[in-house]
Every structure is written in C-alpha cells, then in structure tokens.
Subunit: 157 residues, 2 copies
Amino acid sequence: MSAIAKDLSVGAMAARAGVAVSTLHYYEAEGLISSWRNSANHRRYDRRELRRVAIIRAAQSVGVPLSEIRIVLDAVPPNSVVTAADWARAAEPWAARLDAQIETLQRLRKQMASCIGCGCLSLETCPLYNPLDTLAANGPGARRWTGAPEERSTLEG
Amino acid sequence: MSAIAKDLSVGAMAARAGVAVSTLHYYEAEGLISSWRNSANHRRYDRRELRRVAIIRAAQSVGVPLSEIRIVLDAVPPNSVVTAADWARAAEPWAARLDAQIETLQRLRKQMASCIGCGCLSLETCPLYNPLDTLAANGPGARRWTGAPEERSTLEG
DNA sequence: GCTTTACCTCAAGTTCACTTGAGGTCGTAG
DNA sequence: CTACGACCTCAAGTGAACTTGAGGTAAAGC
C-alpha cells in the first residue's frame, strides 16, 4: 500500500483527484481520460491521468465546458510523452480565455464597489450598464462558450 | 416610439438586455425581477429592472447560481430607491467571491504557461498539481458554489 | 373585417454534468 | 465456504437554467 504504485485503480484515482468514481466513469465515457483493464476487468489508470483530471477540473472552474476541454485534451494524446511546448500549444485558447475572464472580473469587481448602487437611471450612460451588458452577451457563457463575441444589436436610445 | 418610455414591454426588455423573452418570464417566475400588468395583461417593466437583469447576467458569468443571485437581489426590493451603500452591502458576498476567483484565475494562468507540460510525474511535488487540486475541490463550483471549502482528505503519497 | 404581431399561460422538452440504482463479477479475509 | 468490499455495466434519474410548443387574447395595420 505504501509502495509507489505505477498505476491506479479507479477508487484511488477518485480519492486522489477528489472526484467521485462515477465521475471518472463519466469522463472516460466522454473520452476525456483513458484507462486499460486488468485481468479482472477493472480500470487501471496511468498516474498521468491524474493530471488530466486536475486539468479538467481546473478548466471547468473557469467555465470551460467539457466539450471544449476535450478538444484541448485531444491535442495531447493519452500515453504520449508531452513536452511543455505541446501543452502550451494545446492550452493556448484557454490562456486567452483566462486573460479575458480576469479582466472581466476585475472590471466587475471595481464596478460593484463603485457604481452598482449609483442610482443613475439613464442606463445608456451609466458606466455600469454597458460593461455588464457586454458581459451579459456571453452571460451564462460561463457554461456555454461558443467563442463567438456575437455582436448584439439593440443598444439605441 | 422615439419618446423615452418610462416603462418597458417584455419584448423591449428582452432586446435591451440581450436575453430571450422566455428568459424574462423565467426570471420573473423565479422572483428575480418584477413587473406589473397593463390593461391587456401584458407585462410592464420599470427601467430599473434592466439593471437587475444586467446584474443577474453579470453574476452568472462569474458562476453565481440564480439561487444566490436571488438572495442578493432580495436584499434590494424591486421598487425602492436604492443607495450605493444598500447595494454595496447586498453585493458584499460577491466581492469576496470575485477576489477569490481573480486570484484563482491568475494562478491558473501563470501555471498554464509555465508548468502544465513540465512532465514531472511526481504529482505530490509538482507545483501545478496541488493548486489545481485545490481548485478541483470546488471544481464545477463555477456552477455550484456552496462556499464550503470542504477539506479533502486523501493526499498522502 | 381580416390578418399580423406582440403578448399571454402552462406543460413539457432540452442540455450539461453528473449521480443513483439494479443486478452481477472478482478476489481476499475470516 | 461465505461474506465483504471494490469493482463492473447499463439505464434511468437529477438539478439548474432555460427553451419550445400548443392554444388563446388584444390592439394595430391594411
């Protein structure tokens, strides 16, 4: 038990990654992680899969849907030896996303303190309204993120 | 039509806020926004509801579930005149959340560039693993955010 | 007067990301 | 030998946040 196991059971993976076993089943069914089977038909995971799971959870926390996470992970085949450059290239879209999200949050944070209760009823000129409105465009885009900024029209007086 | 309407129809609200009419119906059913009816039983919205919708979308984009948005909005009754202090107090929990999320994103951003492909297989000592792992604890917390950090146990070798 | 448009209600359907449950297989411990 | 725990599959259920559809009203344009 204390010997360093080269591969992990699904239970061990779940414990280590902090997710439910059913979640790992689900991720595998979705093609996000991979495993092989031992003689008892039990899943065995390369320890590297642990990192994949960590990345999945991290990306999710940033609002990336699994469908997009899969795209990035697909660029890094399961059992290959991956270079930093490989990863950097694969994760590039997320970098942009993170930058955008950080900026959005900081703006929102500032506005929440300063303007949210300003009482200005002329929403067109309210410094809060437009940024929020822009945000709203990809609002539950925290969940769904097509990547298309999708110019919204009606903002006239 | 070009005169500044004091109140808005549901269609106008939807267009201005950039959401579907059905979404406004839904928000109203959920008690997030309010309206009155005209003689034809059509919804009429105070223009201030526009800001409430903007706030809802903004909060959602940061991962706040509607149930929590409602709590904040409930602290600011629909037709009252709201002071900046009122809002600041109501939105206080979000401020903390935003701070946390900004920090998380920045850390993730940095790690994504530097470590994600470092190839270190000793996950315990990998500088990426633990932060991500911590993240993973409230992973899809982008969607569900109980606020409980929920000390996870199994991290031994 | 008729048609179109914007609205109404209420029920049911959809997507995402899982979780739960039923029913079954191993391998080890007592 | 039996019990237990960890695993297996597959189907169905869950919750959040909407969307869609059916069936109906009301005012405005031609």
